[in-house]
């Protein structure tokens, strides 16, 4: 009973918030509703018994990714609305739904439900974080290390990409100097 109430509440709220994200013209509204939707997605994970995944979702998405977006937005002039040359909404709706349906059919049709079996069943007496740790550090150790290296590369790449000319503040110098720099 409570599971059903929680599921429908979470699903309607997430879909509504993500619709606001996609169709809003104001970037601030879009970012706020995206963060709220991420929290509710963590609710789905808790409903599914994936406690550790839900906590990681809140920490990484709502904490790190949203903070990164907020910092990135300070570089952009968000009050200036980007004039969008919109294509027909009905066509876009049709294309989006049909492509999503096509991908679901493509990837799910070869999988007969009887062919799915649990290759990594969780430990019977372990809580979810314990079971996740056992599997992550035994079977999925190599992908774990590779993803650690990938995060390191992404960090260095982000610093090098965004850190150029960071010693000069764009807000303190005059507009003409900026445009001269753009010409160079």
């Amino acid at each position: 009973m409570f599971e059903q109430i929680a599921f429908y509440l979470f699903s309607f709220l997430t879909i509504g918030l993500f619709l606001v994200t996609v169709f809003s013209n104001n970037i601030l509204y879009a970012m706020t509703s995206l963060a709220a939707g991420m929290v509710l997605i963590a609710g789905f994970f808790f409903l599914n018994g994936a406690d550790f995944l839900g906590v990681v979702q809140i920490i990484v998405y709502v904490g790190a990714v949203m903070a990164l977006y907020a910092f990135g937005m300070m570089f952009f002039n968000v009050t200036k609305v980007v004039k969008e040359k919109n294509t027909s909404n009905l066509l876009v709706l049709f294309l989006g739904v049909s492509i999503a349906l096509l991908m679901v059919i493509m990837f799910l049709s070869p999988i007969v439900p009887e062919a799915i079996f649990a290759s990594v069943p969780p430990e019977p007496n372990a809580t979810n974080p314990e079971a996740v740790g056992m599997v992550l550090f035994s079977k999925y150790l190599v992908p774990f290390e590779v993803s650690a290296v990938m995060l390191l590369i992404a960090m260095i790449g982000g610093i090098i990409l965004a850190g150029k000319k960071m010693d000069q503040s764009l807000t303190k110098i005059e507009d003409e100097i900026i445009s001269e720099k753009d010409v160079k």
């Binding site: 599914n48 995944l53 294309l95 492509i99 753009d182």
Partner: protein
């Protein structure tokens, strides 16, 4: 009773919303937001499948998707900042500078 199909339908709807955003929006930052929505939809499907088949592999893949999303945001925002310093706009149509 909530079954696996309920979760998969919600995940499909979220994925379609993200795809509509990618097709419709011309603002590059909004494109990133829509990509996040699509990645999250995949995560919901993975977590639900993992629960209903009593298997931890789905949760593992969801972890790796979260790691990929984090690094994508770091690199992508760095590129966006470079583009904004160079062009002064985030419009996707202004990127089409290689028309013959």
């Amino acid at each position: 009773m909530i079954g696996l199909n309920h979760y998969l339908i919600v995940a499909g709807l979220l994925f379609a919303i993200g795809l509509i955003g990618v097709i419709r929006r011309r603002n590059l930052l909004m494109l990133f937001f829509a990509t996040e929505i699509m990645l999250n939809a995949a995560n919901v499907a993975f977590a639900a499948t993992s629960h209903y088949y009593n298997d931890l592999s789905g949760q593992m893949f969801a972890f790796f998707i979260i790691a990929i999303a984090a690094s994508e945001v770091a690199i992508g925002l760095g590129l966006l900042i470079l583009l904004y310093k160079k062009q002064g706009t985030l419009d996707l149509d202004d990127l089409a500078t290689m028309k013959g």
